[in-house]
Symmetry: C2
Subunit: 191 residues, 2 copies
DNA sequence: CGCGCGATTGAGTAATTTCAAATCTAGTGG
DNA sequence: CCACTAGATTTGAAATTACTCAATCGCGCG
């Protein structure tokens, strides 16, 4: 599938755009490819765009004073990634984003997003629903953090995104689940 | 402040509506008042509306198989509450919402929301930003759950929402923070 | 072959939970 | 005003869970 098709199918799960409308929207996306380990956003950066993943895997993460990394999100194909707090409030980035693997993205600038939102009603509807879905999935994750122990969080994640198993090193999975790598290792090697 | 003024001020932090537009939007909100302990949404219910809090406090929560309660959200004045997963996907409720104190709300039905969104562009923009802010605040909470121990989560919460201290029983705060009530008690009585 | 990264294992430590009991507090009825 | 009660909070002690730190193992790659 071409980048254009990937994006179009993704959007059409929520709304319908005419060829003309979609072409116009698509014209604002800039293809950007990155190598494994390359950084898209660093803490303190100005943030003016968001990334739509075509292939590969990004991670959004935060490193605390003790050098411990916490992962907020893995972004696979058709996922969006940015520091949305920075992007929407015009603040400096408070999280990092880099590549877990080589990754191809489409980059959309915030000003273009707002421009197209104004011009094409359906695009704004799409973005509203995208935010809603994001909200719902974060709520689910919070519930999982509150309610489940590390093992069931791990099983839940692997069941929902099996592709992560081979794509992402275990210590990153641990940083996403909120346990130490040692604990995660013990969890799935015993029992 | 009247309910109308509370809602209007809240909305105007994001977008500007003419008197006429606002009156039209406002006409779809139905005042609903509840007593402490009263349930607005129960797991398994059909969900067709969301609530805008005028006064008092709601909690959105989940009770697991061990009868342990986990709190997803407290909703104070100008906060919105519903089971958004159920509301947006037309599923049965997977969480409960009830009143921590006597609570006054404005109730908005999903179909009316979509209707007004179509008719008034600014309302859709408002809802898009509302979702974004919700997403950002949940992301902040996840980071806090991953990175901070129970004590700093408690201090963070009390600093951000001091009114919760007198309004909400401590064992509910514990259920929000993800610790046992005994641990929470020890945390702020030692030190 | 040796390096480097990731994964595993062991042992000791720290944090949190559970369970049970005691204490406190606000509201009710006499 | 007092006694009573239900709910909320606190405290103690034992058990559990997860963490840290250090060492080891495994494997792909130059």
């Amino acid at each position: 599938m071409t980048p254009r098709e990937i994006l179009r199918q993704h959007i059409q799960k929520t709304i319908l755009l005419s060829d003309e409308q979609f072409s116009y929207f698509f014209s604002f996306f800039k293809p950007m490819s990155f190598k494994k380990g390359q950084q898209l956003i660093r803490v303190g950066d100005d943030v003016d765009c968001e990334y739509f993943v075509l292939s590969g895997c990004l991670k959004t993460f935060f490193v605390n004073d003790d050098q411990k990394m916490h992962i907020l999100q893995f972004a696979l194909q058709t996922w969006w990634a940015s520091d949305y707090r920075a992007l929407y409030n015009h603040e400096k980035a408070s999280v990092n984003i880099d590549c877990v693997t080589d990754t191809e993205t489409l980059c959309l600038h915030a000003e273009d997003r707002e421009k197209v939102c104004k011009e094409i009603r359906e695009v704004e509807t799409f973005l509203r629903w995208r935010s809603n879905k994001g909200y719902i999935s974060l709520q689910k994750r919070i519930l999982s953090l509150l309610n489940n122990d590390a093992r069931s969080r791990y099983e839940e994640l692997m069941q929902q995104y099996p592709e992560l198993y081979n794509l992402v090193p275990k210590h990153l999975i641990a940083a996403y689940l909120g346990v130490s790598r040692e604990t995660l290792s013990r969890l799935y090697n015993s029992k």
